[in-house]
Amino acid sequence: MDVIVTIALWLIVVALGFLVMRRSRPLFREGGKSGVSEFIHLLPRIAIGVMGSGFIAAALPPDFVGRWLGSSSGLIGIIIAIVAGAATPGGPVVGFAISAAALKGGAGAPQVIAYSTAWALYAFPRLLSYELPIMPARVVWLRVLASLPLPFIAAAVAILLSRP
């Protein structure tokens, strides 16, 4: 599965690269350069995130995660997960790394889904550093307000989906 995904991703790159190349060669070079510089920018962050997921998983006491976030923790576990998600800094790696760590440590899947949904929607640092400077404040707060119930709904749907 992993190989198929990787191949598919690179086929997309080749197809898009071809389209850009047809437009103009300098544009292609420029695009390639900006993609690679983005990659280099992300490299250390990924390294920290990946190493981090292993160490956080190893450091988390399993009985704590199992008790507070395990599949039997129910609504309380989901609420703890949502609060933790909102407090986690943004960026593409952090939340997934911690989700993986929690899963390895015995957290329930609906709780992890609530966590990663809350993190993706509310990540407070991202809100402050990207959203508010770029978009009208009214839109940002409307978005936050409309997003409040979503992690609960995601967890509920996840629970329903796992019970056919």
């Binding site: 991703l9 437009r23 695009g31 962050r45 190493m51 800094p89 993986a100 899963l103 839109v139």
Partner: protein, 187 residues
């Protein structure tokens, strides 16, 4: 249309930002704790396991970065805004959901797009739907970041559970706005 207009405005990035610093602190303390509690053998085992994951991710992340770069050239922001911003109604929300799924890039590409079409007088609900869909369902994010960490089965399941959420977010915004408008209209 000339190429200059299709180039997105890149925000200046610092080499290190404070979420990264917070992360380094968390990881650093967890790593030292594991070393102190379990000794160097376990410590090295964690490093070794994670190195494998890291290497397998790099190939995908590079592909993701190149896709984002080429797409921002091919899809000028104005075009995207026209697609997802022009329509209102449920159709606008569905189009925004789909756009969020396929649009690549980080917050510095998606927020300007959403911000631009709000500024053009487009539907706020569509903008919120776009951002929600991009953060929860965006394929680029799912394939390059989430899958390597959490595996195919789990991610597919999470994706299915999140599928209705952008539409709900858009509808919630509509409902809230309607409420405000009717209140404002009342004497």
């Amino acid at each position: 249309m000339q190429s200059e207009t299709s180039q997105p405005v890149r925000r200046k990035r610092r080499a290190i930002d404070w979420p990264t610093v917070v992360l380094i602190l968390i990881v650093g303390s967890c790593a030292s704790y594991v070393y102190w509690r379990d000794g160097p053998a376990t410590f090295l085992e964690v490093v070794w396991n994670d190195s494998e994951l890291f290497v397998s991710m790099l190939v995908k992340v590079l592909a993701g970065c190149l896709t984002a770069a080429f797409l921002t050239i091919l899809l000028p922001r104005e075009t995207v805004s026209r697609w997802v911003g022009a329509d209102s109604g449920l159709k606008g929300i569905l189009v925004s959901t789909f756009a969020g799924i396929i649009l690549p890039g980080g917050p510095f590409t998606i927020f300007p797009i959403a911000g631009a079409f709000v500024a053009m007088g487009a539907d706020i609900a569509a903008a919120v739907t776009l951002i929600t869909s991009w953060t929860l369902l965006g394929l680029n994010r799912v394939l390059t970041w989430e899958m390597p960490f959490l595996g195919f089965d789990f991610v597919t399941w999470r994706w299915m559970a999140a599928l209705p959420l952008p539409i709900l977010a858009g509808l919630f915004v509509r409902a809230i706005e309607k409420r405000f408008k009717s209140k404002a209209a009342a004497p």
